[in-house]
């Protein structure tokens, strides 16, 4: 049941609208409920061939030899595609916005880095003939030790998962192996706190589980173009990725999509289009490449598993005075989009609360597992789980009602956020008040009267003096414990506040991030 609380923030809205705010039936509803809507896989083209990939049976191995001779002679096989057939067999998705290094092949060449990594693609008259031919490919693996734990992977001397990132961590701004957030003096805040609580949280990788699995159909069109029916969540993102991998101008492709059977983030990676198009280029026939359910579940990218350590300092009156976070995003064998999520996660700290001292180190770590990707709440869901469990524990520790504890610490209009932007248009307090009302959760009168629009700003608008990092190498992570004791007042390495911010370390001549626009419309891609 949904109730619109028009009484709240009414003075900020014009409700005198004709179409906005109406529960109009969706334009595509009739097609959806009668099964008439057209999805990519509803295109059955004449002479259509089917593409399937051979997937690695090892999590980490050198490829000594790939023998496709017998597969090529197999019934119904039109073409065997190997890494050498891919024009530019190395890519990273966010190269389109100039973020990160090319680190992932379409088809593995010298090494496989996760169980299920595609090695060879076979285009055949039927899916069955493609599978039969795949069974005849002989791969000689030389097994390598697999890195599966994010903290183990960061230890010195750990086996290298992805040679583009020899320390097994994404490199930010060509300088750091993690994304930093620094706001105030978190060590001083922890030292002065009445309660300190340090906890570890671990997410699990999960599947997007869309009704429709990832897939596409590519077909030669007139004038040397190719038409591509696709389940992508990002039409031009996929189109430009294909143009790069296949090394052709972007107007070679006519992408058609738009009606998708569930995405949730799992259809941004352009998993099938490059090989489907390449198959069409090499055979001159339409080629369909669709993931089966098992492929989708195990080798389609999952939501990555984050491991998060939070150390909070709180006062007896319930104010949180420091929050220190260290988080590890398990990116799997390749970057895909996890590097970006780590930045989004840093910006999200310390959650929707005003805390004067916040410190975050967010790592994007490579391990020998299926590459992770975006999923609903990317970069935030895990941190919200950790922060909100932590908030409950802190409320318990301090002895304050968990609703009132959140209202007390909630950010308000005019407060300074830890990523150094003013909070505006906030509404957390009102959400808590309304949820409490709905759940018949008793709040004291003073908490019912608090507002996102009152008592923010002022002293809460300041950017506090922030000590500089000493640039010591990151301390090896260890298992954390819960501490209900006051932290020992060890003197933090503190620099007095400075009138002007300290000069940043020398940057590379060309910025490593975001220097050029998305390629297809305005500009060029810089590499």
């Amino acid at each position: 049941m949904l109730e619109l609380r028009k009484d709240i923030f009414a003075d900020e809205r014009d409700d005198n609208l004709k179409e906005i705010g109406k529960g109009t039936q969706r334009q595509d509803m009739l097609g959806h409920v009668t099964g008439a809507s057209t999805y990519f896989d509803d295109h059955k083209l004449q002479g259509m061939l089917h593409l399937k990939v051979l997937r690695s049976t090892h999590a980490h191995a050198r490829l000594r030899r790939i023998d496709t001779a017998e597969a090529e002679r197999s019934t119904g096989v039109r073409r065997v595609i190997r890494g050498a057939d891919v024009p530019r067999n190395l890519n990273t998705l966010l190269s389109l916005i100039n973020f990160g290094k090319d680190d992932e092949p379409s088809l593995a060449v010298d090494k496989v880095r996760y169980k299920g990594e595609p090695i060879v693609a076979i285009v055949a008259d039927s899916p069955r003939e493609a599978y039969e031919a795949l069974a005849k490919v002989r791969v000689d693996y030389e097994s390598l030790p697999a890195m599966l734990d994010v903290e183990e992977a960061l230890k010195p001397g750990a086996p290298v998962v992805n040679e583009a990132y020899p320390k097994n961590a994404f490199i930010y701004y060509d300088v750091y192996d993690h994304q930093k957030l620094r706001f105030g003096d978190v060590e001083r805040g922890l030292a002065e706190a009445d309660h300190v609580l340090e906890q570890r949280y671990q997410m699990s990788p999960i599947e997007h589980a869309p009704t429709e699995t990832n897939g596409s159909i590519a077909a030669p069109d007139t004038n040397g173009r190719y038409v591509v029916y696709t389940s992508t969540q990002a039409l031009f993102f996929s189109l430009d990725t294909c143009a790069k991998i296949l090394d052709v101008p972007s107007n070679t492709f006519h992408f058609i999509g738009g009606t998708v059977g569930g995405g949730f983030g799992g259809k941004v990676d352009t998993l099938t289009e490059p090989l489907a198009i390449l198959g069409a280029m090499l055979t001159g026939r339409p080629v369909r490449y669709v993931l089966g359910r098992e492929e989708e579940m195990q080798f389609g990218p999952p939501r990555g598993a984050e491991r998060i350590y939070i150390k909070d300092g709180a006062m007896r009156d319930g104010r949180i005075v420091a929050r220190k976070v260290r988080a590890y995003f398990d990116s799997g064998a390749y970057t895909r989009l996890s590097s970006y999520a780590a930045v989004k996660c840093a910006a999200h700290l310390p959650g929707p609360y005003t805390i004067p001292n916040v410190y975050g180190d967010i790592y994007c770590v490579f391990t020998n597992r299926t590459p992770a990707t975006a999923m609903r709440g990317f970069g935030v869901t895990a941190m919200d789980f950790a922060i909100e469990c932590q908030m409950d524990k802190l409320a318990h520790l301090v002895g304050i009602d968990p609703m009132e504890f959140r209202i007390l610490n909630a950010y308000r209009d005019g407060d300074m956020k830890a990523h150094r932007r003013e909070a505006k248009n906030t509404a957390l307090i009102e959400c808590i008040q309304v949820a409490a009302e709905k759940a018949k959760w008793p709040l004291r009168e003073e908490y019912k009267r608090m507002s996102s629009r009152k008592d923010g700003g002022g002293g809460r608008a300041a950017i506090p003096a922030t000590p500089r990092d000493s640039h010591a190498p990151p301390v090896a992570a260890s298992q954390q414990r819960t501490s209900y004791d006051r932290a020992s007042p060890a003197a933090p390495a503190y620099e007095p506040p400075q009138a002007t911010p300290p000069p940043p370390p020398p940057r590379p001549q060309t910025p490593s991030h975001g220097a050029t626009r998305f390629s297809s419309v305005f500009g060029t891609r810089r590499r």
């Binding site: 004709k18 595509d28 169980k115 994304q179 699990s204 935030v380 409950d392 808590i432 998305f518």
Partner: protein, 340 residues
Amino acid sequence: MTRHRGRGIASVNYPIGMNLGGDPSQALVHSNPSGKFTVSLSSIDLGQGMKSVTRQICAETLGVPVEDVYVDTADSDTGPHCMGSFASRGTHRVGNAVMAAAKEARGVMMEAAAEELEVNVADLETDGRGNIHVKGAPHRSISTKDVAIAAQFKQGKTISGRGIFLVPLSAVDPETGEMSPATCYAHACLVAEVEVDDETGEVAMVRMDSAYELGRALNPRLVEQQLVGGAWMGISHALYETTEPYYPDPGHGPRDFVEYLMPGPGDICPHDIAVLERPAADGPFGAKGPGEMCANPVLPALANAIFNAVGVRVDDLPITPEKILRGIKAQGGARPQARR
């Protein structure tokens, strides 16, 4: 065996879009000679209702009935560029682009109407039912259809508009993390009530109460669909789903929906939702976007409710009956916390 009830809460915010690479979307709007409008996009409708919210935004901006607008997406030959449907950006970014395009098209439509009615364009208004009339004089009126015919065959005007919405790139300070990742934030608070069986460790959902602040509910039924569905995704994430049950050991991964656990129809509970609307300064009609964030508060609210019921904290997902049971055994039995 005892079943213990407990309640837990969580409150969250969520950034709308993510502009660390520059975040643009474009839209084109044009009328045919019958006064029916087409919106051309390359954005994707994942089932969330992208086509419907942009259709309503276009109709509202043009001042025509929603039936007179059709949204065509996604064809790279006809639809102008869009980054894609992710990061909760559809309603906000694409909605703004459609609004800009519709404003431009409306400008031409009103000029054409002014020429036909021989009045000043500033004196005209739309009635939202397919007519344009002189303010305060509804009888001096012309239908959008007649305006479109006149524009096409008599005046030689294209009733069309182009729109782009771009949140420019925001650089990140490597030392401090200073950045402008998003222009507005949605908010939520959710209370979950569960029942935990101290013999089996199983969790049953009892009810959920929530409040979501979304800037503007452009279509409350689509919002409801997102919030109800998203909450169930959150329950599934918290209690059931994993592709690696022994993570970081990768073994025993599920291969299909028999092995991959998710809640079924029998696991559904009532969910009472309130929607608050505090318009975002740069949102289309103030809208932010409910897409991603609705799953987020459910995970911690459930973990906190389970603690409230039996006194066990499970900090690694999914919160399986096994983990709860081990926690109960380790502390020598269920320890229900203060009922709240």
